[in-house]
Symmetry: D2
Subunit: 184 residues, 4 copies
C-alpha cells in the first residue's frame, strides 16, 4: 500500500484572525510541521488540497464568505507547513477535495492507493473528502489531533470534532488515529 | 425554479425484514405515496435514485452487506411508490446519488434546478446526496418526516435523524420541511 | 497488467435492420464471439458498455434518433455475444463510456489497468471512450477488425474506419491490433 | 441563450519557438485579440482553459513532452490576449477542458449555456472539449479561422484542420463559423 498525506484547507486565509476556530488551528501548526516532516522522510507524497474560490461564484457566496480566493496568496498553503518543489498543490472549488478537481488523477499518477488526512474543518472538508475517498476506493486514516472542527448547529468545536470523527469512522470506514500513533 | 423529487434508496430490498430501521421505513410508505401523488399532480418530475451494487465490488462488500444488487428486482423502486412510464430511475453505486451516475445529466435534461429529497438513510445517502447537490449548485429541501436515519455510533435512529438533519441544514444549506408544509 | 475487454454499444438495437453499417456489423459477430470466448478463457473480464438513452433527453434527441432506450430489451447486449452471470454490463448515456457512468469505478474494483476495445462506431464511441481511457491513465488496444465505423462527412465506412483508427493511435496512444494478433 | 468564449490552450508555452504549428498560431493572435475585445464588449465571459501539467505525471510524459507546467508562467494565458481581473482562468490536466477540472462548475455559476471555442489544437483539445460540451448539453460554435490544428498521421496542418472541423461538426453538432461572421 502506498500512502499519501492530504492536507486539507491549511491555507494562509484559514489562519487569518477572522478565521473559524483560529486559535485551535494555530495551536497545532508545530505538530503538523513535525508530522509532515516525518511523512516526507518516509517518502510519502504530501498533497495540499486548497480551496480556490471564484469571486464570480454567486451560489457559493450566497452561503459563505469570500476567503481563499483563487490566484491570491491567501489560498496558498501555510508557508511553514509547505515544502515548495516537493509537495503537490491541488485546487478544489467546494467542500470535497475530489469534486471537479484533479485530485483523483493526481493521486493515481503518484501511484497512491491509501490516504492520511489532516486539516480543517473536520465536519465539512475532512468529512466530505474522506467519504468521497471511500466512495472511490481509497482506505483512509484521519489524524484526530491534526484536524479541527468548527462551531455549528449550536455545538462547540469540541463536540463537533467528536461527532464528526464518529461520522467519518462509521461512513468512510476510516481508521481514526493520533499523530503519536502514526509517528511511532 | 423547476423542482424535482429525488426518492433515495426506496427499493424493495430496503424494506425487506432484515433491513435497517425497517419498521420506521414501512410506517411512512402511505404518507410517501400521498406526497409523491401530489408532486406528480403539480408536474414535478419524480426521480428514484436506487443503489445498484455489483457482486464484484470487493471494496464495497468489505464494509457493507450485499443488498440492492444491480439488475435484480430487489434494487427496483418499491412498487407501491413507483409510477412506471412516468417516473425516472437512476442507478447509483455508492452513497451519493451524484457519484459516477447520470443523475446530474438527467436532472439538467429535465430542466430541473431545485430538489426535494426523501428516503433513507438520512445520515448517509440523504446527507451525501444533499451535500453534493449543494456543491453542484442545486438548492434543496429535505422532507423531514419522509426521511429515516439508521442506528450508528451508539446513537438511536431518532438521535441520528435529528443530528443528520442539523448537519444537512448547516452544510448543504437545505431547507428542512415537513410533508405537511410542502403539501399545503 | 490486468486487461479487460470493453464491448462498446454491441446492443440488439445496434444490429436492427435500420442501424448504421448494419451489414458490416453483423458480418463480424461470429469473429467477435470467438474473440470473447478466448478472452474469457484467459480470465479477462468482459464489460459490455451499452448506450441507455432516456426518452426525456430532448438535447440528445434533437441530434440523434431514439435507439437503445434505457430499460428496454433493445439496449441489452447482443445475446449471442453475452455471457450472463459472468460478463459485466455498464450503462452509458452519451458517446464516451466514461461520461457520468460507473465504468471507471467498475474497472478499478475489478483490478483492471488496461483495456482492449471492440464495437462501434469507431469514429464516435470507440474514439471518445479510448481517448477518455487514455486521459484517465489506461493503456488501450483497439481491435481493428472488431470495430466498425459509420458513414459521415461524405466519407464511406471504410474511409472513416481508417481515419478513426489513425486518430485513435495518435491521440489515445492506442495499440491498433487485429483479433488474429491478439488471439495468437 | 448566454454564450461564453472558451480560449483553449492559448498559453505562453504554446507560442514558444519549439511549439507545434507555431507560425500559424502566432499569425492569428491579432485577429484573436480583436475577436475577444468584441466578445467582452458584448458582455460575453471569456474563459481561458489552460493546460497545467504536473512533472510527476509519468503517464502523460510517457507520450508527450513537458510544456505548460503547472504553476509556471509558461502555462499562463498569452498576455496580449488576456484581460486580468476580467477574464477567467481554468486549469485542465489532459486534453478536454472538462476532464477533472472545474470548467463545468465555472460555466454554470456564470450562467453560461452555450459556447464559442477558439484555440489549439483543433484535432485534440478543441475536438475533445467540444465533444464533451455536447455530451454535457452545451451548444457550441467553433470559430474556424481562430483554431489551428497540428500535423499528425502523415497529414499537414491544413488537412487536419479541415478533417477535424468536419469531425466536430458531425459529432459535437457544432456550428462552424468564421470570426467575420461572428463579429458582424
Amino acid at each position: 500500500m502506498s500512502e499519501a498525506v492530504l492536507v486539507l484547507d491549511m491555507t494562509r486565509d484559514s489562519i487569518a484572525p477572522e478565521a473559524r476556530a483560529v486559535e485551535k488551528r494555530r495551536a497545532i501548526l508545530p505538530r503538523v510541521a513535525a508530522y509532515l516532516a516525518r511523512a516526507r522522510g518516509k517518502g510519502m507524497p504530501v498533497v495540499f488540497v486548497c480551496s480556490a474560490r471564484r469571486r464570480t461564484d454567486k451560489w457559493f457566496l450566497k452561503h459563505w464568505e469570500l476567503a481563499n480566493e483563487i490566484w491570491t496568496p491567501g489560498q496558498e498553503p501555510i508557508p511553514e507547513l509547505f515544502q515548495p518543489g516537493q509537495d503537490t498543490v491541488v485546487h478544489k472549488r467546494r467542500y470535497s477535495g475530489f469534486l471537479q478537481s484533479d485530485l483523483e488523477l493526481t493521486l493515481r499518477e503518484l501511484g497512491v492507493d491509501a490516504l492520511q488526512l489532516i486539516g480543517w474543518s473536520t465536519s465539512l472538508v475532512v468529512a466530505t473528502t474522506t467519504v468521497d475517498a471511500w466512495q472511490l476506493g481509497f482506505p483512509t486514516t484521519v489524524v484526530s489531533d491534526l484536524t479541527v472542527a468548527h462551531a455549528w448547529g449550536g455545538h462547540s468545536v469540541e463536540e463537533n470534532q467528536q461527532s464528526s470523527l464518529d461520522f467519518i469512522a462509521a461512513m468512510a470506514k476510516s481508521r481514526i488515529a493520533t499523530s503519536d500513533e502514526l509517528m511511532r
